[in-house]
């Protein structure tokens, strides 16, 4: 049984196609779906989840070998086990926080939501009403509610819309941790590059209602937590020597010593140089060897301390066999167990 989500959707409003897309997504880790406004990202997620059944068109969706939508019939939204986190929290105003989280749990025979409540720091809020919640708290409740419904896959549709940047940076680690802890594959709609670099294992691009292709996955290194440091943790890159270059950095993340975490490298924060740039403002300076150069179609593949990093086509790599990589800023995310491939 292929561990994939395959869809072929032709949806129209009037005589215009709003979505005409076909793709097969691996159901592992986080697949980011990006593209400009109006490119069909939200329509795609909603169609896959079985919402908007009144929109005319042809649907063919297969999830792990099960036909969700086919010419012969459809599985209704409530039976697809899609944990959907919408752009708005969409909480139930007549229930308190515990009632909201329990809504899906009750319907899917989930007996304990304690772990989810704990992971999202919602314990003190359980008895509160919905009106009093801050924007960030409401998002956390919405995320917990989706996770508590025992989803087979998580759909996150720009779940941080409307939060200010401070709240976003607080909320993003919760998403990262939830996605990794739940061991559930996720589709993450966003056009914010920081969110994508932090979370995504691969990036699908939409434009004008069509799939325009796969983007290079964000550059990411793995590291191991060695100690807690103030509000964050000290991590050491896998493959680095104790006193070697870029041995350890501290990142603002809650994690336990021994845990493996991913270190996302935003494109604009990475510089390559033939000579060691010397001590400067870089967070880390790492030795790099070229594994395969950028060809006409392919991207450059680098070896960084034994880890493989594929460089997006937009970056220029020095014409040398070995050189240096300076990193100015990293976006860490927790990873439980083996990193998804």
């Amino acid at each position: 049984m292929p561990d994939r989500l395959h869809f072929r959707l032709k949806l129209r409003r009037g005589r215009l196609f709003t979505l005409d897309a076909e793709e097969s997504l691996p159901l592992q880790g986080v697949t980011a779906i990006t593209g400009p406004s109006g490119s069909g990202k939200t329509s795609l997620l909603r169609a896959l989840a079985g919402l908007d059944r009144d929109v005319a068109g042809a649907r063919s969706v297969t999830f792990r070998g099960v036909e969700w939508d086919a010419a012969s019939g459809s599985i209704p939204a409530e039976a697809r086990r899609v944990g959907f986190v919408f752009q708005e929290p969409n909480l139930f105003a007549h229930l308190n926080v515990a009632g909201n989280i329990g809504y899906g749990a009750k319907r899917r025979q989930v007996t304990s939501i304690a772990a989810i409540v704990e992971a999202l720091d919602l314990g003190p809020l359980l008895d509160r009403g919905i009106e009093g919640l801050s924007g960030g708290e409401a998002r956390r409740v919405a995320l917990a509610r989706a996770l508590a419904s025992n989803p087979a896959v998580l759909f996150l549709d720009e779940p941080m819309t409307g939060l200010d940047s401070q709240r976003k940076s607080e909320f993003l680690p919760y998403i990262a941790r939830a996605v990794s802890q739940a061991q559930v594959p996720a589709l993450y709609v966003s056009h914010a590059s920081d969110e994508i670099v932090t979370l995504a294992d691969r990036v699908l691009e939409l434009g004008g209602g069509h799939v325009t292709g796969w983007r290079t996955a964000p550059m990411r290194l793995t590291a191991r937590v060695v100690a807690e440091a103030g509000p964050g943790v000290e991590v050491r890159l896998e493959g680095s020597e104790a006193d070697g270059p870029g041995a350890s950095i501290s990142v603002p993340l809650r994690a336990l010593p021994g845990e493996t975490i991913g270190i996302g490298l935003p494109v604009e924060s990475v510089h390559f140089s033939v000579h060691h740039p010397g001590s400067g403002s870089a967070l880390m300076v790492l030795p790099v060897t070229l594994r395969s150069a950028a060809g006409a179609s392919g991207q450059a593949v680098l070896d960084v301390l034994g880890q493989t990093v594929t460089v997006p086509g937009v970056m220029r790599v020095p014409n040398a066999q070995s050189f240096w990589m300076s990193v100015l800023r990293v976006l860490p995310r927790p990873m439980v167990g083996d990193s998804p491939t």
Binding site: A49, L51, E78, N90, A93, Y103, R107, A146, S149
Partner: protein, 223 residues
């Protein structure tokens, strides 16, 4: 001249009408809120018509419809041996038609105000459409329910023209408060007219006040 039979009759009529109308209007309002049917404007117009029609026009057609010579009234007469016109049952039927918009419109407004996103969320969380209706739409529309009940009750208590046309003026059978007042004035019994009128005025004021105070706290407004 005792006014108690009229008061008792009015309260009974208002209660029965409100109970039946809420049960009928609930599915009707839900259908009007969610349907994409082309019949919707027609049904919507019909449910709103009693709001603008003169009660005498409404009462006249109901009188024709309910009379023993008409199919409906005739059928009722053959089954029960009683006429629908000039009876309590006839009054209830007339009140149902007359007060229909006051039950449907607040419910329709309340259902329309239920956020679509909450219903989508409920579906993805494992709720069937019926489950989502019962556990999300109904609780979120509860203020509309109360508004509908209160307005329907008050409006039924206050009706006059339709009752007079369909029910006439039979003490203890069809003589409700408003007709009792009319009769009292006709016979120059101003004392009775004062008592009943003041009672209705106070009642109406309190009811409307209740609705407004209640809706000030919520987001659902009276249609």
């Amino acid at each position: 001249m005792t006014v108690w039979p009229a008061i008792w009759l009015t309260v009974k009529l208002a209660f029965v009408t409100t109970a039946i109308l809420l049960a009928v209007s609930l599915p009707l309002a839900w259908w009007l809120t969610t349907t994409k049917s082309r019949l919707r404007p027609v049904i919507e117009t019909i449910t709103t018509l009693p709001l603008v029609l003169p009660p005498t026009v409404l009462g006249f057609y109901l009188l024709i419809l309910l009379s023993p010579t008409a199919p409906l009234g005739g059928l009722w007469f053959r089954i029960t041996g009683d006429t629908l016109t000039f009876s309590f049952t006839g009054l209830v039927i007339a009140s149902l038609v007359y007060s229909l918009p006051f039950a449907v419109q607040p419910l329709q407004t309340a259902f329309a105000a239920v956020p679509r996103g909450a219903l989508d969320a409920a579906r993805t969380l494992g709720a069937t459409p019926r489950d989502a209706f019962v556990t999300v739409s109904l609780p979120l529309a509860r203020r509309g329910f109360l508004t509908a009940a209160v307005l329907t009750f008050a409006h039924t208590v206050g009706e006059f023209g339709v009752v007079l046309m369909v029910g006439g003026n039979i003490p203890g059978r069809t003589r409700v408060i408003s007709i009792e007042i009319f009769t009292a004035v006709e016979t120059l019994d101003y004392a009775t007219a004062h008592v009943l009128s003041l009672g209705l005025l106070a009642f109406s004021f309190c009811v409307l006040m209740l609705v407004y105070v209640f809706n000030r706290r919520g987001s659902v407004r009276v249609a």
